[in-house]
């Protein structure tokens, strides 16, 4: 039911913009800003580059709005543009998106659970640092799955990756995070 409502509201919004109501696009930006932010910020650290990319992403979406075929949600389509634009940017800069494996991946250390509870105040800082250490694609997938709570199917539409690949990348990313946290507490 909610899919039908989304589809209809997307249709109304897109038709309105295509009929010349440019200001209607501001609502599209506001609705998709969070998703685009998660994709771009997780992969691009420099603020000036982020600004250029965000403008580029939405300009592409605006110019190609007439070719949007309503096969997916408008937000997913914009997420896909954001992902592709960001990946192209990283490829131009020759940054590996999944190749940078964590240096501590092989040093699996189990940590003492009682110790863990005493240092819970630091836990989020450590986790944020560990997420930041992940390769760009893993960071994005973790954010889309756990923070944005998107289903694998929608992540697959955004990233053009098979669902199986996404699951496998997510397993590896979580393992890297777990090992990273363990390594941190052990030292």
């Amino acid at each position: 039911m909610s899919n039908i409502v989304d589809h209809l509201s997307d249709k109304v919004i897109v038709t309105n913009i295509l009929n010349g109501n440019i200001q209607g696009f501001a609502a599209v930006v506001a609705n998709t800003e969070r998703l685009v932010t998660q994709i771009v910020r997780k992969m691009i650290p420099d603020e000036d580059d982020q600004k250029d990319l965000v403008q580029d992403i939405y300009l592409k979406a605006y110019k190609n709005l007439s070719s949007f075929q309503f096969k997916s949600k408008l937000s997913t389509w914009i997420g896909n543009i954001a992902y592709n634009t960001t990946i192209n940017y990283l490829q131009k800069k020759r940054v590996s998106i999944v190749g940078i494996e964590s240096q501590i991946e092989n040093s699996i250390v189990e940590f003492d659970n009682s110790e863990m509870s005493t240092i819970k105040t630091e836990e989020l800082d450590i986790l944020v640092k560990e997420i930041a250490k992940l390769p760009p694609l893993y960071k994005t997938l973790i954010t889309l799955y756990h923070l944005e709570e998107l289903p694998n199917k929608e992540i697959a539409e955004i990233t053009n990756l098979p669902e199986g690949t996404i699951k496998s990348y997510l397993y590896r990313a979580r393992k890297m995070l777990k090992d990273g946290i363990n390594y941190h507490y052990k030292n």
Binding site: N19, G20, N21, I22, Q23, F25, A26, V29, A30, E33, R34, V36, T37, Q38, R41, K42, E47, Q50, K51, V54, Q55, Y58, L59, Y62, E110, F111, N113, M116, E123, L124, L127, V128, I131, I142, T143, H146, L147, E148, L170, Y171, R174, K175, L177, K178, I181, N182
Partner: protein, 148 residues
């Protein structure tokens, strides 16, 4: 060296409720190592939800809309230039084709007085401006109706 411990992948799928297996459940209840690993993952899964989503330090909507209006203004300017060029070309072609007739029309003006010529020109110009203004007003009214 091989052991019978559960893989990280199985432990994660268990926590995500993607798989349920009695043998796996039995193993976890008996194996200290897998229990520890499971706790670690549980900790990770709950902590990750607490991470604040990142935001940009700039206003995305105004930044994007500024760029879009810029593009639209440029597009309109280019469309106007193209329109004026087309009109100029049409006018030149029409003038060339009608030149022999225009010549005779202009010769008619020579015989009339300056006042009569001025009266004719001002009134024809006035009528043209009135008609153009009316066409533009109608166009705007229709545009508003479509947008509503």
């Amino acid at each position: 060296m091989k052991n019978n411990h559960l893989t990280d992948e199985i432990l994660q799928t268990l926590l995500l409720n993607e798989v349920q297996d009695e043998i796996v459940d039995k193993h976890i209840s008996e194996c200290q190592v897998c229990q520890e690993k499971m706790k670690n993952y549980q900790f990770l899964f709950t902590s990750i939800k607490k991470v604040e989503p990142e935001t940009f330090s700039f206003d995305v909507t105004s930044l994007v809309m500024e760029k879009i209006y810029e593009v639209e203004i440029k597009k309109e300017k280019n469309a106007n230039i193209a329109l004026y060029m087309c009109l100029s070309i049409i006018l030149i072609i029409v003038f060339i084709l009608l030149y022999p007739y225009v010549k005779t029309i202009f010769s008619q003006f020579k015989s009339s007085s300056i006042m009569a010529n001025a009266f004719m020109m001002v009134s024809s110009l006035g009528v043209t401006i009135f008609l153009l203004k009316d066409i533009y007003r109608q166009y705007k009214r229709k545009e508003m109706l479509i947008l509503q």
